[in-house]
Amino acid sequence: MSSTQLDAKVENTRELSRLLANVLTWGFRIGATVIGLGIVLAVIQHRELAESIGSPSQLLKSIRSGNANGIISVGLLVIVLSPMAGVIALLRSFWLQGDRRYAQVSLLLLTIMIACAALQLGG
């Protein structure tokens, strides 16, 4: 690898890092805001935090009824799923740059993550 190639790669890695940092920042901001709203709602509703999140269908029902625990759970899920969004952003970026090797690595990782999420959230 020549010096110029290494410099270009370092710059490319910086761009990838910025992209990933942005995705994680937004995941954090949205998740934290939703959790904050849920906590405020829990105080207003005089509701104690639940001992479990409940199944996806219970969670949906809980959100529709404006239940604070449902809102907080969504905030937690947004944060938990943020790294997955980061991998999607990296996959897109590698693909657009023509870096096929790491586009494939990202795709494989994402496939495993989605399979896991589908298995755990699906039933």
Binding site: L6, L24, A50, I53, L76, V80, S82, M84, L109, A117
Partner: protein, 276 residues
């Protein structure tokens, strides 16, 4: 759970996240013992809440490490392929195993990590140059803010790192920890990466592993909002502080701190597991 206990969970998570982020461990390794030994949280719920907090810690901590250029993004993706498979397997086993066994296992892991880091406390990375062959396209460069030195490095023994990553993922799933306790030392010792790069890369990796782990615990009903919410909020504070401190503290000092705390917690966990 009373208000006082909720506050203590948040505080413990903040301390754990600060240490975890500084060391690239994700904080879970400190959180589980603190929650179970000192705050009376049931082990299964401590592990479930920690799994969520570990992802939050990674999300917050990674941003700073990414900004400093400490994260080798390509390497993280590569190592996570095997780690995440191990994590799902471990989390499924964890929902079926006795709590005292989990405590003893975590105790052993804590002591192992402390000893291994103490034995290999020196930054072992090799400075490479542009002419070094880079078969995995993983060569990276960053400027260390503490010394203003430009560090160019290349991770070595990538296939071995991936194999160890499976084991790291398994522990992550079993114990709710991020697995950084194995990932960090593997990158330092086996892959010969600079300590700050391994800490930054491990911080990002534990978030990806944690997604799978947290979802398995969610499915099994082990995420108690009364523990998970204060833990996540504590992590938001601690993780930012930890990542901030990493860029300013000498790496060898981190290892001494790491050794003392982990040894103490490891012995306490084994003691508690045997007692249970």
């Amino acid at each position: 759970m009373g208000t006082e206990q909720t506050l203590m969970v948040g505080l413990a998570a903040a301390v754990a996240a600060t240490l975890g982020s500084m060391l690239g461990l994700g904080g879970g390794v400190f959180m589980v013992p603190l929650f179970t030994l000192y705050l009376g949280v049931e082990p299964a719920l401590a592990v479930g809440a920690t799994a969520v907090a570990v992802v939050a810690n990674s999300v917050v901590g990674s941003r700073k490490h990414l900004g400093n250029g400490f994260v080798n993004v390509r390497l993280a993706l590569l190592l996570e392929i095997t780690a995440i498979i191990g994590a799902v397997t471990g989390a499924v086993i964890a929902t079926r195993i006795r709590a005292d066994y989990l405590k003893i296992l975590l105790g052993i892991v804590l002591i192992y990590a402390a000893v291994s880091m103490f034995m290999n406390r020196r930054d072992q990375h090799r400075q490479v140059d542009d002419s070094t062959p880079d078969p995995w396209d993983l060569m990276a460069r960053y400027t260390d803010p503490a010394s203003n030195q430009i560090i160019t490095y290349m991770p070595e023994k990538v296939p071995l790192g991936m194999a160890v990553g499976t084991f790291a993922g398994l522990l992550s799933g079993l114990l709710g920890i991020g697995g950084g306790i194995v990932k960090g030392p593997t990158m330092d010792v086996v892959m010969k990466m600079p300590l700050k790069a391994s800490a930054g890369t491990a911080t990002m990796m534990v978030g990806i592993t944690g997604v799978a782990t947290a979802l398995v615990f969610y499915r099994s009903g082990n995420i108690d909002l009364q523990v998970a919410v204060p833990a996540v909020l504590g992590v938001f504070l601690g993780s930012s502080l930890g990542a901030h401190l990493t860029s300013r503290i000498n790496a060898s000092k981190l290892v001494v701190l790491f050794f003392a705390i982990l040894t103490f917690l490891g012995i306490s966990m084994i003691w508690s597991g045997i007692g249970a």
